[in-house]
C-alpha cells in the first residue's frame, strides 16, 4: 500500500471490500490499526472509516430536490433505493475549484440510512492506529470540530478523519432553518 494519498490512484471497490472484510474478520491483537478511506475535497485531504463504507460509484444521475440547502445535491437511485447525495465541499464551505477532479460518490451507512457523499478524488486506504490521530484538523471553511475524530499525518499531507456519526446527524446537513 503506498504510504501517501497524494497520488490520484483511485482504489477500486474490490480492494475496499477486501480490506473491509479483512477488517471485520478477526483482527490480530498486535495490530490495533483501523482502516480509513482517504479522499480529496478541493485541495484538502479527508478520510472516513471503512466500517461505514458501502460502495464507491462514479457520479450517477442526481435528481435535484427543491427547498433543501445547496449542499444537498438531490437524490439518486442506489439499486432501487432512493438515497440522498451531499456535496461535502459545499457543506464545509471549501472552494468549488478542485485540481484534477474525478467526481465520485462515496456511499456510507449510518444506522440503517445510506447517504452518498460527493468527493473530488478517491485516495488510498490508510491503516492508522487510533493513537496516531493526534493532530488537530485544520477546520477549513465552515467545518466544525465536532465533525472530525481528529487528524493525522499520512506521508506529506495532513488528513482529517471525519466523524460520520456527528456529521450525518447534524441538523444543518439536511435542513434549511438551522443553517
Amino acid at each position: 500500500m503506498p504510504d501517501s494519498p497524494t497520488g490520484p490512484g483511485k482504489k477500486n471497490l474490490e480492494q475496499v471490500g477486501r480490506v473491509r472484510t479483512n477488517h471485520i474478520g478477526p483482527v490480530s491483537l498486535d495490530s490495533p490499526q483501523h482502516q480509513y478511506l482517504s479522499f480529496r475535497l478541493s485541495k484538502e485531504w479527508y478520510a472516513l472509516s471503512v466500517d461505514k463504507l458501502v460502495e464507491i460509484l462514479p457520479l450517477p444521475r442526481i435528481t435535484r430536490v427543491p427547498s433543501v440547502p445547496d449542499h444537498v445535491l438531490g437524490v439518486m437511485n442506489l439499486r432501487g433505493e432512493v438515497v440522498s447525495a451531499i456535496d461535502l465541499k459545499r457543506f464545509f464551505g471549501l472552494p468549488r475549484a478542485a485540481p484534477h477532479s474525478d467526481p465520485t460518490i462515496v456511499v456510507v451507512e449510518q444506522g440503517e440510512v445510506r447517504t452518498g457523499l460527493l468527493v473530488d478524488t478517491i485516495g488510498d486506504l490508510m491503516g492508522v492506529n487510533p493513537e496516531e490521530l493526534n493532530e488537530e484538523p485544520p477546520l477549513v471553511g465552515g467545518a466544525r470540530r465536532s465533525f472530525f475524530q481528529g487528524a493525522c499525518r499520512w506521508g506529506e499531507v495532513l488528513v482529517s478523519i471525519i466523524n460520520l456519526e456527528t456529521l450525518l446527524q447534524s441538523e444543518a446537513l439536511f435542513s434549511l432553518e438551522t443553517e
Binding site: S67, G74, V75, G80, V82, V113, F174
Partner: protein, 864 residues
C-alpha cells in the same frame, strides 16, 4: 355493519389455526409437562379462541376458554399439576371448540358441565392458596383478562342498545362483569371489585326484567366500564390513581333502587346431562391461511414495483432492438438489389453476403421471440404487482365498525338525537391508509354533532325530524375511494364564514371578492381559522378542520366541503386506493421529471402566451369564463425554468392543479405522459421536504420526484411576481391549417394529446370513442386521426376498419396510441389499416409529432 356470518367466515380460518396450534401444544405438553414454550403457546392460542368466541357472541365458549386460560396459567405457576384429569378437560374443550367451528352451534349440554368441572378445579386450588398468593406476579395476567372483560362488556352494551332483549348478550355481559368482579377482588382491588359487582347487579336486574334496558342505564354502565378501564390502565402502568367510583356507583344505584339485590352468581338454569359426542381430532383440515408481518408485505410490494420498473426498462431496450431489426430489413433489401449474383466480384463475396443475411435473419427471429417472452413476463410482473398490492387491501369496516360507539357517546354528550348510518363498509383500501382514517372521521363526526346538528327542540321548530341523520358512505370509483359524510344539520353560511375570516385577519377582503360560495366554504380549512371560537359557533364546524385536511392530504387524498344552509353539510374525502402506487401525470420542469398525482390534476391547457393576462398583481388565464391564477412551476420550486423553445413559439403548456377549491394553472415545459408509478420515500434524511410527497424510480433508472400539490398552494402568493421573466408573444406564422382528430375515452389523455398537438401548431378536434369519432368525421374535414385502442361503444380497431371502408375518408392517416406495447395489438392494428402504432406509457411527445409530421407529409405528396 358487517354481517355476523361474514365475520365468522373471515375469522374462522384464524380460529381453526389457533385450535390446531392449541391441540399440538397440548399434545407436546402431555409428553413433557415442563415444556414451558408449549404452555405459553397453548395459552396464547386459547386467548385467540376466547377472542373469537366473544366476537361471535358465543359467551359460553368464551367463558370456557377463559377458564382454561386460567387453568394453564395455574399450571405455569405450578399450582395445578398437569395430570390426566386436567388434560382430559382440555381436550374435551377442544372438541367442543371444533364442533362450533364446524357447525356454528354451541353444544350447550356438553359445555355447561365442563365449565363447572373446570371451575371446580380452579376453585379448589384457589381456596388452598388464596392467602399466600403473590399478587404482583399475577398482575399482568389479571390486567389482560380484565381488559378482555371490559371490551366484551363494551361490545355487549352497544349490542344491547340496538337489541335490548337479547338474552345471549345479557348473559354475556353479566358473565363478564361477574368474572371481572371476582378477579378484581382476588387481586385486592376493592373499589374496582365493588364497581364490577354493581354492574353485575344491574345486568342481573336486566336479565330478570326488574330494570328495563334503557339508553340511560346503558350510559351508566358504559361510564362504570370506562372507569374500570382507566383503573386498569393505571394499574398496568404500575401507578395508583384515585378514581372516584362513587358517582358511577350512585348512577347505577339509581336504577337498582327498585329492585332487590340478588347476589346469586349462578349463570343459568341447569343443563341436561351431557350426551357423549363423537370426538374428532381437529387436525385434519388443511391450513389455508398464513399470517405475514406487514413489513414483509411492504417489501413484497416494493420488490414487485422494482420488477415492473425493470420490465419497462427491458421493453424500452427491446424497442431499440426492434428498430435495429427494421433498419437491417431495409439494408437487406437494398443489399439484395445492389448485389446481383452476376455483379458479385467473387464467390467469397457471395458467401459473406449469405452469412450476413443468415445472421440478420437470426437476429430478427430472436428479437421477435424476445419480444414475446418480454410481453409475457410483463403481464406476469404486472399482475404480480397487482396481486401483491391486493394483499394489503382491507375493508373499511375495520374503521367504520368502531365509529357507532364513538358517535353514540358524542351524541349523548351533546344531547343530540342521532341516527348514524354507514354504507359501503365492505369497500377495501390500502392498510396504510385505513390505519390513519379513524382520526379525521372522528374529527368530522364530532364537529357535525357538536355544531352542525341542532338540538332536538330547534330541529322541531324548524320542521325537521328531531332525530338527525348522519350518513357515512364509502364507494370505490376507479382508482379512488370516495367517503361521503353527510349531515342534515344547519349547514355552514359562506358569507358569515367570509366575514369572520376577514375580521380575524386570515384573508383580505380583496382576495375573496368574486369568490363563489363553494370557494368561500373552503375557507373552513384555513389553518387556525376553524379553531377560533367565534367561527366555531357560527360556522357549525369546530376545531381543527384544517387538521382533517392535513391528515387526508398526507394520505394523498383530497377533502371538499359543500353545504346547503339549514339543510346540512357534506364532506367528501377522496383517497387513492393504495399508497404503494399512484397514478401520475409526468411533466418536465427545469429539466427534471416530476410526477403529479392525477387526483390533483384538473386539466391540461395549452395556450398562446398572449392569453395570459395580468390582473390584481398576478398572472391569470381565462378558462371557460373562469379566472385561474397562473404560476410558474419551476420558479415556485426555486428552480430556473427552461421553457425556451415553447415560449419562443409563444405558446405555453399548463397543468391546472387543485387543492380543495383552490386552483391554479402551473406552467410546465413538457408533458411526458401518464403512468402508474411506485412510490418511495426520499430516505429518512429528507422526510419532510417542501413540495415533495415522495419519489419514484423511472424506467430509465433515474429518480423522479412526486409533487406535493397541496404544498404548492401553501406557498405565499406574494412572491408570485418573481416567478416570471418575459413572455414573448405567439408567432402565429407556424400555425398550421391541418386538423387532427384525437380519439380517447380518457379526458386527461385527450387533453394531453390535444395540448401537445396544438403546441406543434395543429388544430385539434376530439372524440370520446370510435362511434363519436365517425360522427365527427361525417361533419368535419380532418387530416389525420390519433386514436386509443380500447374504448367503450367502438374501439380503435373497429374505428380504423370503418374509416378504411368509407370511400371519402379511406386514405386518412391513422395513428394508434396504445396503452401498452403488445405485439398482438400492434399486428392487428396494422392489419386493419393503421399507419403507425405508438405506446402511451413510453410516450414521447417528440416521437408522436415526428410520426404525425411524416405521415402528413406523405399524404401531401400523394395528394399532389
Amino acid at each position: 355493519m358487517v354481517e355476523e356470518r361474514d365475520i365468522f367466515l373471515t375469522l374462522k380460518d384464524d380460529y381453526r389455526e389457533a385450535l390446531e396450534h392449541l391441540n399440538d401444544a397440548l399434545l407436546r405438553l402431555e409428553n413433557n409437562p415442563q415444556d414451558h414454550d408449549s404452555l405459553k403457546d397453548a395459552g396464547r392460542q386459547l386467548h385467540n379462541v376466547k377472542g373469537f368466541a366473544n366476537r361471535m357472541r358465543a359467551p359460553k365458549l368464551g367463558q370456557l376458554a377463559h377458564l382454561l386460560e386460567e387453568v394453564l396459567a395455574s399450571i405455569k405457576q405450578d399450582r395445578i399439576p398437569l395430570d390426566d384429569a386436567v388434560a382430559n378437560l382440555l381436550f374435551q374443550a377442544i372438541d367442543i371448540f371444533v364442533h362450533y367451528l364446524r357447525t356454528r352451534e354451541v353444544p350447550t349440554e356438553t359445555v355447561a358441565p365442563l365449565v363447572e368441572e373446570v371451575e371446580a378445579k380452579l376453585f379448589s386450588v384457589m381456596e388452598e392458596e388464596a392467602a399466600e398468593q403473590d399478587l404482583e406476579a399475577l398482575l399482568p395476567d389479571f390486567v389482560a383478562a380484565a381488559r378482555d372483560n371490559v371490551e366484551a362488556i363494551n361490545q355487549g352494551l352497544y349490542a344491547l342498545e340496538k337489541e335490548p332483549s337479547n338474552d345471549d348478550t345479557l348473559r354475556e355481559v353479566y358473565r363478564n362483569a361477574h368474572s371481572l368482579k371476582g378477579s378484581a377482588l382476588t387481586m385486592g382491588f376493592e373499589r374496582m371489585g365493588r364497581l364490577a359487582h354493581r354492574m353485575e347487579d344491574l345486568f342481573r336486574a336486566f336479565q330478570t326484567g326488574h330494570v328495563r334496558v334503557t339508553p340511560d342505564a346503558c350510559d351508566a354502565l358504559f361510564e362504570a366500564n370506562d372507569a374500570i378501564s382507566v383503573m386498569l390502565d393505571t394499574t398496568a402502568a404500575g401507578k395508583r390513581m384515585r378514581v372516584n367510583v362513587e358517582i358511577s356507583m350512585a348512577r347505577m344505584d339509581d336504577f337498582l333502587v327498585e329492585t332487590t339485590s340478588d347476589d346469586s352468581s349462578d349463570l343459568e338454569p341447569e343443563a341436561p346431562p351431557p350426551e357423549p359426542e363423537a370426538s374428532t381430532p381437529p387436525v385434519t383440515q388443511p391450513i389455508d391461511t398464513v399470517r405475514v408481518s406487514t413489513s414483509k408485505l411492504d417489501e413484497l410490494v416494493n420488490l414487485a414495483g422494482e420488477a415492473v420498473i425493470a420490465q419497462i426498462r427491458l421493453a424500452n431496450e427491446l424497442g431499440v432492438l426492434a428498430n435495429i431489426c427494421d433498419s437491417w430489413q431495409r439494408l437487406r433489401l437494398r443489399a439484395i438489389d445492389s448485389f446481383h449474383p452476376a455483379a458479385a466480384e467473387s464467390q467469397g463475396d457471395m458467401t459473406l453476403l449469405h452469412r450476413l443475411m443468415e445472421l440478420g435473419d437470426h437476429m430478427e427471429q430472436t428479437s421477435l421471440r424476445l419480444q414475446e417472452s418480454a410481453e409475457y413476463a410483463g403481464r406476469c410482473t404486472e399482475s404480480l404487482q397487482h396481486k401483491s398490492m391486493e394483499i394489503r387491501m382491507l375493508p373499511l369496516a375495520l374503521v367504520f365498525d368502531t365509529l357507532p360507539r364513538a358517535v353514540r357517546d358524542l351524541s349523548r354528550q351533546f344531547n343530540k338525537q342521532l341516527d348514524f348510518q354507514v354504507e359501503g363498509a365492505q369497500t377495501t383500501i390500502d392498510k396504510r391508509i385505513l390505519e390513519q382514517l379513524g382520526d379525521p372521521l372522528i374529527h368530522l363526526l364530532r364537529n357535525a354533532l357538536d355544531h352542525g346538528i341542532e338540538s332536538p327542540e330547534v330541529r322541531r321548530q324548524s320542521g325537521k325530524p328531531e332525530t338527525a341523520t348522519i350518513r357515512l358512505r364509502a364507494s370505490q370509483e376507479g382508482d379512488k375511494v370516495i367517503l361521503t359524510l353527510e349531515d342534515d344539520g344547519k349547514g355552514i353560511d359562506p358569507r358569515q364564514l367570509k366575514e369572520v375570516a376577514i375580521s380575524k385577519g386570515f384573508i383580505k377582503e380583496s382576495e375573496v371578492t368574486g369568490w363563489s360560495e363553494v370557494q368561500l366554504l373552503d375557507l373552513i380549512f384555513i389553518p387556525g381559522l376553524s379553531t377560533s371560537a367565534l367561527v366555531t359557533d357560527i360556522s357549525g364546524r369546530g376545531m381543527g378542520t384544517d387538521v382533517v385536511r392535513a391528515n387526508v392530504e398526507r394520505l394523498k387524498g383530497q377533502v371538499q366541503v359543500s353545504s346547503d344552509l339549514n339543510k346540512g353539510t357534506r364532506f367528501v374525502i377522496s383517497l387513492p386506493l393504495t399508497l404503494a402506487t399512484v397514478h401520475a401525470l409526468m411533466v418536465c420542469c427545469a429539466g427534471e421529471i416530476l410526477a403529479i398525482p392525477t387526483l390533483s390534476v384538473l386539466e391540461i391547457v395549452q395556450a398562446p402566451t398572449d392569453e395570459i393576462k395580468f390582473s390584481q398583481g398576478q398572472r391569470v388565464i381565462m378558462l371557460r369564463g373562469e379566472v385561474v391564477p397562473v404560476r410558474n412551476l419551476a420558479r415556485t420550486l426555486g428552480w430556473q425554468e427552461r421553457n425556451g423553445e415553447m415560449l419562443v413559439r409563444g405558446r405555453a403548456m399548463f397543468v391546472v392543479l387543485h387543492s380543495g377549491e383552490r386552483k391554479a394553472a402551473f406552467l410546465v415545459e413538457e408533458l411526458l405522459g401518464e403512468q402508474e408509478i411506485v412510490t418511495k420515500d426520499l430516505g429518512s434524511h429528507l422526510q419532510k421536504v417542501k413540495f415533495v410527497a415522495g419519489a419514484t424510480i423511472l424506467g430509465s433508472g433515474t429518480v423522479a420526484l412526486i409533487l406535493d400539490v397541496p404544498q404548492l398552494f401553501l406557498q405565499e402568493q406574494s412572491d408570485v411576481s418573481h416567478e416570471w421573466s418575459h413572455w414573448p408573444t405567439e408567432d402565429r406564422s407556424i400555425q398550421s391549417s391541418q386538423v387532427i382528430l384525437v380519439v380517447d375515452d380518457q379526458a386527461m389523455t385527450r387533453q394531453m394529446e390535444q395540448s401537445i398537438l396544438e403546441a406543434a401548431g395543429y388544430q385539434v378536434i376530439t372524440a370520446e370513442n370510435g362511434a363519436d369519432a365517425l360522427d365527427k368525421l361525417e361533419q368535419l374535414s380532418c387530416d389525420l386521426v390519433v386514436t386509443d385502442l380500447h374504448m367503450p361503444k367502438m374501439d380503435g380497431f373497429t374505428l380504423t376498419k370503418e374509416i378504411r371502408d368509407k370511400e371519402r375518408i379511406r386514405d386518412l392517416p391513422i395513428v394508434i396510441v396504445a396503452p401498452t406495447e403488445r405485439q398482438e395489438d400492434k399486428r392487428r392494428g396494422l392489419e386493419v389499416g393503421a399507419d403507425a402504432y405508438l405506446v402511451k406509457s413510453s410516450f414521447d411527445q417528440r416521437e408522436m409529432i415526428e410520426t404525425i409530421q411524416t405521415l402528413l407529409e406523405q399524404e401531401t405528396h400523394q395528394g399532389q
